[in-house]
Symmetry: D2
């Protein structure tokens, strides 16, 4: 039986690790706050006593952490993954982090005899629970093939998109488009509302044409109902757009629309709305149009 060391049992990590248990893997879980480890143990996982303990006997290590520094902290150091995993271990970082950090992790892991992949996901908490995440994988083809049995318990679409770091690059592109599209839909909704238009009929016809997008399909009902409970928090999207900006800057890529989207998301966070769903950008566009809604919940 394959043994998986799983580090990071948060909102996403816990259901993912649980799906691996259900899928027949032996899973040793670690989390900085021990409460999550106890919950994981109740669900059939084994509780690790620190990172070294979680990875020492693992064939595969999965990490699911908030940001680049968290992943670096877990990988490096005398108690870390690189120092304690067996040679040949497959290390799959599924966090959303900087592509350049992911590439460096792959290089440094390789120097330690490890096979490191970056495999960020999209789909959110519900897809994590349901095991239907989309997974964008960067790394060597053989390593990606070896990781498939694990990844297929977590996601429905497992796409190898290039060498180490590529998974993070594609995730960054995803976050760029999503933020921009939410902004465009918000502008359109305020524009329609400011004229004498039946917004619901308009949305229906817009969604069916060349203006159609997944925000219309999955998110616009919440926007029209003014339900901005996350979902995906603006604070996390802000972090991700920081990754996009840095990666675009490093590569010399112009993002005239992406940089505006980043400004808008950054404003929401600066104003204290980082805990709302990213579709709450609608509120900012309304405010910039002198059309704030008094009936807005919260």
């Amino acid at each position: 039986m394959t043994t998986v060391g799983f580090i990071g049992l948060g909102i996403m990590g816990l259901p993912m690790a649980t799906n691996l248990v259900t899928g027949g893997f032996e899973v040793i879980g670690h989390n900085r706050s021990p409460g999550k480890v106890a919950t994981f143990a109740e669900r059939g996982g084994r509780a690790a006593n620190g990172i070294a303990d979680a990875v020492r006997d693992a064939d595969v290590v999965v990490t699911m952490l908030p940001d680049s520094p968290d992943v670096e902290a877990v990988m490096y150091g005398s108690d870390g993954v690189f120092a304690n995993a067996k040679p040949g271990t497959l290390v799959i970082d599924m966090s959303t982090i900087r592509p350049d950090v992911a590439a460096k992790l792959a290089k440094d892991g390789s120097a330690n005899g490890l096979r490191v992949l970056d495999a960020p996901v999209s789909g959110g908490e519900q897809a994590a629970v349901d095991g239907i995440l989309s997974v964008m994988v960067g790394g060597a083809p053989d390593d990606v093939a070896a990781a498939r049995p694990v990844l297929e318990k977590l996601g429905r679409t497992i796409m190898h998109v290039g060498p180490a770091g590529s998974g993070q690059t594609v995730k960054a592109a995803n976050q760029l488009i999503v933020a921009g599209t939410i902004g465009l839909v918000a502008e359109a909704l305020v524009f329609l509302d400011a004229h004498d238009v039946d917004t619901r009929s308009a949305v229906e016809v817009l969604a069916g044409g060349l203006a159609g997008n997944a925000i219309f399909d999955r998110k616009v009902e919440g926007m029209l109902a003014r339900n901005f409970a996350p979902g995906f928090r603006l604070a996390l999207h802000h972090k991700d757009l920081g990754i996009v900006s840095a990666a675009a800057r490093d590569a010399g890529v112009a993002t005239p629309l992406g940089s505006v989207a980043a400004q808008l998301v950054g404003s929401m966070v600066a104003r204290g709305d980082g805990g709302l769903d990213h579709t709450a950008l609608l509120r900012l566009v309304e405010e910039l149009s002198g059309r704030s809604r008094e009936d807005d919940p919260a």
Copy 2:
């Protein structure tokens, strides 16, 4: 039998008028350049001798013209629609024009005893030929109901979105989102290409998630193949974004993303690329990223 006066037999108008003939209407067509009228006559239409002649005996008048001034020129004046159509005639303007002009036409038409609707379309030339346009209709409910038998020969989705001018407002919102989405997809493609990513795999995974949109579904193949033959010309999109800007300005609606998209489209036109498909925005983003493609056709 219902008689339709059809004014504007261009790339869109000619197949639309032809579909009305095929659908069993008596159609009298007029076009400024007479060659198009001859072609229409070969397809079973009747050739009008001027605007007045086209509308004098019509139950329904349809106009399909390039821009607001063209529509105003056809409606007003002693030879125009308003002066020559019978009281009670249904006048359906299917051009893409300014919402405020559409509202004024409805008001002025009403003063002449006419029932005026704005009913711009989306879907492009092929959808016009196939009779499967999406039609966004603004006007009084009774008039919209009366227009349905005609509109249903032209389009698959006929959506009443509000009072006079609303159809144009929704079309404007459509053009805002489409231009912005093309820009976002272009930024993502250049971003992916600038890193070591397999662009086709990346597009596949992006299109299936929250970043999915109709540009990925219908247009990205052309972008990857660098086929920028129109399609929908940048020059027309530029005209439409002028309508969006003016309508947003008049209503005090903020369009931070839309205004950037308008700048990008405007640049393409200023540089002499107005005849390319709107997806050619990709070229501008590449150029701004120092990544112009030497193998680019044309």
Copy 3:
């Protein structure tokens, strides 16, 4: 003695017309609201009984009106300037209007035997009172020379910048730079305030270097004191940026920064702050940064 017909006795026009009286001209003034005409008469001007009366015996006509349609209304029509001024009369429009409208007025005036100049001003109410406006003049060199005796009573810098419409073009460029510079200074002030910086010392060193500008020299004290009483109202700057946008669009000129400045000013107006001085853009940048000031007056 040269007789001047002066149309538009508002905040700017009244002191300008008064300076012409003081400067030795016979001035016949007209204003839509008659109260202003009475005030002008108290100051030594003559009250006209309508536009035709103001211009019939004039050697020079000066107009100082809010916007393009106002100027067109005064020039055209049977009671207007063009129909009633003597052949050869010098018509100097000092309003800030669209360059293309100014060029059309020059052409149409010429067809009526008149010599039309566009001569918008900068400097504001106080400079109008003091007779030290900057005047940007577009038109034929001989006509500009003929206008100098009048213009020199109104301004200190009289600059001939090109053919008809050029004065308005330069004024539009002025308004583009001013709005953008206020925005940049506002961003810098919020940036400094958000860190632990002594803002006054910082402003002093910034103003003396390559970041120096007239906003630092003339306006920043008001911004730091949070005195947003106009001065130059955001609503008027919004009108002027509409002129800039249209003229840039017509000429195919990219204004990536100008269009952002226009969005910001438009937002202020949409939110109901059009009556504040244009430096109140600072408030919007503060709000977008989550740093609204509770001690803000008003």
Copy 4:
């Protein structure tokens, strides 16, 4: 006599160190490439044999280096400033680096018994040669007072703007405004040129009004003459705008105009124009307006 260890004898550092020699200080200079050290020795300086040698006997250490990592490399490590300078030494970093790095250096230096100031400059190479730089100083008041005798040999305006890091914050604000102002002036010049305007007359009247700024005063002649030899290279401005973006992001400050300016500068660098003067932004605006100049001297 006060002894100064001077690290970084580049385009700016060499004349600065030379001015300290001329001003009566004993100066021990170090540079990574030894050729510069030899030149410095010819001008009366002493050549150090490494960083430790340069700072071991110094009362004051001055660093003038390209970017944050360079300064960190010089300060930290067993051969670095912090490990080798005497307790109580005044360490003045005059490089342009991240404010947060500057604050960290002050804290870490203090832990080593050192007094660290950040004191970036503006004015460019000629002002460095002439000893008339503007210096923005962050740090403790007593330390700033102690540094004045040294700084006054280098600059004309020595402004204490706040605690550690503040000097860098003000420098960042400076670079934000300068880039934005160059962009605005470029947009205005293209706008004027696209209409029939005498650009030189227009610039003269614009420079004298509320649109006036130091770019008009010091740089516009070069722009009109199309002389884009640096001056201040776009590549360095790009680095500085990266600092601005990061600092604004960290503090939650909205910079809608600054982020557009950063995109434009980034495009120029991506396109290979990083070696030109920052006023070459004019070329990008021209290109975006379809008005590239064929007579442009490469």
